[in-house]
């Protein structure tokens, strides 16, 4: 059996969940309270971070880059990076853009401050950081709108890991009610297409202890 260790509202874990679901690969999902720094978990992954994926043959994989490329090589039936070297470069560029740049500028400022600080009991959220996150998200929604207007999906004609990375990060911010959908109709339309994919359903059912999802979070017609 395949096992994924994750934590609630971890965008990177969601990238892996979506990737696996799109490739129709099943896995057990376990919550790992990374801040407890459990010894058995650190033995599996010295960085102590999620996502951590254990393959059926025991292979242990960490980091989005590693997991993405491994799964593409081992399970190429449903390609999620693209068909050509150039297409793959564009998908990877957007993957880095959303997973790292959006992650730093938006997700960390909002989910990091409002949620992770609370569960890890590591101080008060910074209102400066939250303000920055809420401002930065507009720029990224503009970029998503621009891409979604000029292409069928973010990286080109095919649904890809670019869509997965952007949607995974947006979904955790959306759980906290911080995505200003009203000002970005094209991005909203693209996200509603993602929301109706079977791979996305389990994420919409996620329940974070102590934080109920806003009504629109699960709603396909939001």
């Amino acid at each position: 059996m395949r096992t994924l260790y994750h934590i609630w509202l971890s965008a990177q874990s969601r990238i892996v969940r979506l990737l696996l679901a799109e490739k129709d690969l099943h896995c057990d999902i376990k919550v790992e309270r990374v801040w407890e720094r459990r010894e058995e978990f650190l033995a599996l992954n010295p960085t102590g971070e999620v996502p951590l994926l254990i393959e059926p043959d025991g292979t242990t994989l960490t980091d989005v880059w590693v997991i993405v490329e491994y799964m593409e090589e081992m399970h190429p039936e449903v390609p999620l990076l693209g068909d050509t070297t150039l297409a793959r470069a564009e998908t990877r560029r957007l993957l880095v853009w959303f997973d790292q740049k959006f992650g730093r500028e938006v997700t960390e400022n909002l989910v990091g401050e409002k949620f992770m600080k609370r569960v890890t009991r590591s101080g008060q959220p910074s209102s400066d950081a939250i303000r920055a996150g809420r401002q930065n998200v507009h720029y990224h929604l503009d970029y998503i709108s621009y891409l979604a207007e000029s292409r069928r999906w973010l990286a080109g004609d095919e649904f890809s890991l670019a869509d997965i990375a952007a949607a995974a990060h947006l979904s955790v911010v959306d759980y906290l009610g911080d995505v200003p959908w009203d000002s970005h109709p094209e991005a909203r339309q693209w996200y509603s297409r993602i929301k109706s994919r079977p791979s996305f359903r389990p994420l919409l059912e996620d329940h974070v202890p102590g934080i109920p999802a806003p009504a629109h979070y699960r709603d396909l017609d939001f």
Copy 2:
């Protein structure tokens, strides 16, 4: 002609320089003062960051992940990720370890504070950050020693991008004289093997305006 835009002491640009040299691919190297946010450069790369690589056919590539995978696909004659899916996963894991974890815990604290803040005139170096960087580097040198003792190269029997990433980051810290080689003889021995590779020579000739390299930086027998 291939062109690489870089900046002095950019570890990520050095990863690309080493990768190209190991694959025997020539390129023009241009300094891009990223903090000036030159319009022509932003048009090529909206993130405004180096490394930026322009291929002979005009293809523009940014980000280590994108460049690494593109060059491995296009120029597989000298493989630098490994021969099997599993070997590639291990190389990528270490690439992420050194480029992101070492980068955050050591390079940013030392090169970021002591050098980048100076050239970009963005305030005084934080002595706390510098202290943290000098402390963290020991942990990473221990890890390099452990890997270099149990394997021929960091990711296995073959020289790979894991060695390149670790050496690139160490080299910029070493330029500032902040690598405590004396306490880590195994890591020093591994680094001296890297230093004597032809691909590494140009990096040892680098001259950063206003900051002379310490004598041992260029010395193969340091």
